[in-house]
Subunit: 142 residues, 12 copies
């Protein structure tokens, strides 16, 4: 099983940016946690971060045949990007949406996700553990 | 660690009711899965199902000192019950919201959760695995 | 043919409560009318009244194999109960929504029914005759 | 008792148009059913179909002294015609709104009826039986 | 100066229909009042009533070169007819909107006029006097 | 018959302010036109202008027993003043709303009048003639 | 004078639940305050608490002939229960709505009360004193 | 304890204006009731009425150091005046909002209060007793 | 291939009505252009214009077996006619929506088309060329 | 160059009122800063404060020929006063809107400015420096 | 005549992505069709695809003097990109919007185009033929 | 003091694009003005322009420790980019929003800024002077 993990805009700042909201771990540390758990689960995982909506669309568009599933934290693009939604719908492979913070408890404009309806499911509010739970959810399939 | 799992309205019908949406397992089977994983994690778990908003409010109101965390699938009350929201906010112990189906991909009125903003996080769309992931999220804390 | 008739909240007050809106007959009299017409149509009918959303959900959830159809006047829960809607959708047996008053001619918040979309049809505004018409509609099938 | 039955736009196509929504009977067959049941009830009934909002307004405007009640299936005009609403309100004789399909379960714009608030009641979702139920509701008065 | 007076749907019922809202005069009496005042003002006036949106559009579309101004009481079409609005905008001759009742004091859906923005002005709430005031407003020009 | 004419905010600037919208006549000239027509109609008229919502409320509040009717051009307060609305409703004497411009053809926020529902009627779009028409409407009563 | 005091959902937690919002007194202490003041006013008072919408509807439905007035703090049901509203409207005896906190200063969804329109009046924001003020308001009648 | 009582627009008309809504007492009588109860409670009270939003803002702006609390019936300004809201928030002394009528049971635009969120609490629907209850609420503090 | 071209309300005025919006060609000239291009494409074309919603519904309702496709410029009915929408959906033959002007760049109420969702596609903003493009689109099928 | 600086409601309280939002300087100090910078720029400046919407309208209405530009901090009237907007639009001289606080970061109802659309520009969030920047913007013209 | 054809996000996936919505042709095949028809029309055409909003803005921004017209299928950016809208408006050369699918018949959020109002016209629903029709529309000018 | 000036999409076209809205100066000229004033104020300034939301997010994300403040004209991204908002909030250094045009006086969709709430303040409508005023506002601090 090959899984692509996509980190959206501003996630390169993790650990530095508003740690009370997003936690104290850096993206590097989170990626290491993901890889470690993936190894345990026998899953091949690649991670990717970009602040560019277009690069994320490019990346998702090139997953066909390369990956079996996508874990995506679309960051701010969760609420504004129909292009990423369409890219995910177009791939035909299952995706899981992850958010570090509990977006339902934040500003009104963070309550609507354009991405969630084309995903298998959503995990939000558990910090970096969310990625690991997503890995497990995909590994256990159903 | 003592965890209360609350199943909301119509979940007693699982396995019989609209299996294409909610899956083929019965509530009994799901509760068994939860207990099995809880045992592995060294967590003391109790499950509770009710179709009555008031009984769920009663139950949550009596958790203080009895439980360390709540896992709740509020079912239809997710979208209509401020009373359950207030009960959760009033307990002061962490809660995790679980949904079997991906509510974001269903009717418009299922997109807003009154419960999510007072929970630590939400897991939706993974069928009965969602409860197990919630257990792990709480066990791993953060 | 076995039909369950469900009377929702405050209907126990019929004949006493706002008779200019709801008519002068008591619920007992209405149930008698329903039973009389059912007998003529060769239909086995049971009636049930509750002010508790949870009890109504319980009752509907237990109809599988017991009844062939449901006639429901959800009263105030028409506009607020997704739980009752989900219970009806979950039973898989046909339901008819009945209202004594013409809800479209009353307050704005009575114009939207959460129940109607999961019913076969709706009859509103004819007082207690509505239940009898619902019986006939079910008996004549189509 | 003299009753006018008004069929609104596109109902001349019944039996041909989208039979999964509107049923397989032609308007002629439905009118025959109505007349048959009217005879049993001792009611004098006339039926009228038009695709023209103006003709329907004309017709309703000329009912005073000619008819004792109106049964109307306003079709698409249900949601757009204040003129028909005003005509019904202006006649001063009771009207019953009938819909073949369960409009509450269809597109959002079919959920609001401009006609219902000036009618005695509404019957929706029972196919051609709806007209017969409307006849009975009027015959039984209350 | 040649003026066309257009009476919209249901106005043929004046005097009979809801006299507490629309007054006790018949349309014939109102037309006589209009003609009498027109004569005093040296204005050539024609009156026209139709319940058909299409006929009103036809009529307005044929006014070019025949009339110098239009007085229109669009009745229920005030709130629903973009076709009449476009017809008035297309004629290029000034129009005055008249309402017998004070539409602002009635149902919410009567508060928006699609016609008013393409008219010179509006007179509402003065019963049949409104037409006479409209004549004077046009005769006095400005 | 004693009539109070109330001119609202910024009307003291008439003739100077945006003449393409409000016309070239000064308020003094308009008041002279009003008085001249009032004399012809045998009506006793007083005019009053204020930019202060409070002064207009004071003035209307003191009309009881002093005036038989009010003509009011509430200017910008048309859309924002519930206080003036309440004052008019509290006097118990009839009022007519006048606007120089056709407010329906201007900005969206000028389309709703808080004042119109408590008036007998409205005249809009005829420049200073509107006041004269209002005088006539009141003199002719109905 | 016999008065029923109804406490809605989660109020059994008073003193423990979010004391910065709801105050430090327990429900028992508040009930004692109410009874003490009632005695001074010569009023017979009963108190009742339930987390169940249905039980509150039952209770209100049984007040006819038993009580002369109702004081109700509907808690979270203030914003979601048409059933309680209908029950109060159906009793025909006066009711006063009380809130411990100033609901207008809290979340948007707490600003609309479905209950207030069928009450005589509302008292909000004064903590447990609100019940005493309500008693006085009813005792002083008007 | 020194309390300022502010009466908003049109309240000078009390007793004359729409007595079925606002009661039969004059403002003078109400002020006398307030003063009498204040004396009993040992409170120093001043009353003030104005139809001018600006004067009310001036008055509230000058209360610092002069008064310990404000009781305000903002009348129509309840729904339109951010300036009065800001003045109250700026004083830093507690305020209580009073309404004679039950505003929740009246027109839609009277349901939102811009003032309530900056007050300690609200009392509505009890006629002139409301001011006395407000005095008591402030006197009892909490 | 037999194609019906339907021109909606006010299109009989083309060339005369607001030429800056709708162009300088008359409907006769446009129909000639359409017929000329149809001949080149080997398509049998009939054109029809009506200001009457009902006549357009009649016409569309009679196309079954007579035509293979419909090109329709619904004019103002684009935004208000569910009846025409239902007629098109009922025919079961493909339709193309054409607009002379770019409706997206005009008033807000012209942005929503009730007709477009039941058409194969839409062509807007190209003047009379739009009809020719629609012919080609249908001729080329796909 | 002669500039009028208008300070709206509650600004007389500056330095005392909510200093965390509005800063610690008094209006007197701010006016001194403005005058000092104006002198440097060779601009003749007058300042004016009022809590009365009407006085502000009066003042703006009298600027024609007296001033070349207006700097206005409309305070709470920013969001509610069409009268001040109309006064500014009516003067025909350029205006600049200034806010001490960043209104976009405060309550929802402070996000819409009725005044900004008739101004040359807006400066918000810089405390008293905003007035000085406005002076410079006007002095530098463009 | 030189025309730039811009393909927006995810269009590189054509033929592979959801062929029931977007058709079976690849972008390469579509570009070949466009070039072939352009040659017949004597038009010089360049095609460009990007998933990056910024690259599309760059490209449009560099068209001045290089191209005479733009054909753009903005894909998902149709509904979210004001930047592309502003780029098109800034070029001053005519643009045509093309959509492969009938966006009006899809999700609600695809019904509003931010791009259409700055284009000459729109062609939607005809698959790849839409580009060819756009070429013809531009070639025929008007 | 080191300040980064960020120019958003389409600003590279300044001087060429719609000069009646955006002015006649090129971006180069504006940058020169900014640098000149910065030198006078002793501020170290860098300017940056991009049409790519992702590049702007990258740039802002890399300012920590490099700059003391940001001046940003987000252009079209003002209304659509939560990613830029999050980047600014994440930097923890103060930002000022600048707009060349008065966005409040333009299309409805330009009235809401997603960026303003995370900035210190906003300056809009003064053309290129806005950047200079922003420099001064930051230099003067407060």
């Amino acid at each position: 099983m090959r899984i692509l993990v996509v980190h959206g805009p501003n996630l390169q700042l993790l650990g530095k940016r508003e740690p009370d909201i997003y936690g104290a771990k850096t993206l590097k540390q989170i990626d290491a946690e993901i890889r470690q758990r993936a190894k345990q689960l026998g899953v091949d995982v690649r991670t990717f971060q970009s602040n560019h909506e277009g690069e994320i669309v490019d990346k998702i568009g090139s997953t066909a045949g390369e990956y079996d599933a996508i874990i995506i934290n679309p960051g701010a693009y969760t609420h504004t990007s129909i292009a990423i939604r369409d890219a995910l719908a177009g791939t035909g492979i299952p995706a899981v949406e992850v958010h570090l913070s509990n977006t339902s408890a934040r500003e009104e404009f963070r309550h609507r996700s354009l991405i969630a309806p084309v995903c298998k499911g959503t995990i939000a509010g558990f910090g970096s553990i969310g990625y690991v739970l997503a890995l497990e959810a995909l590994a256990k399939g159903e």
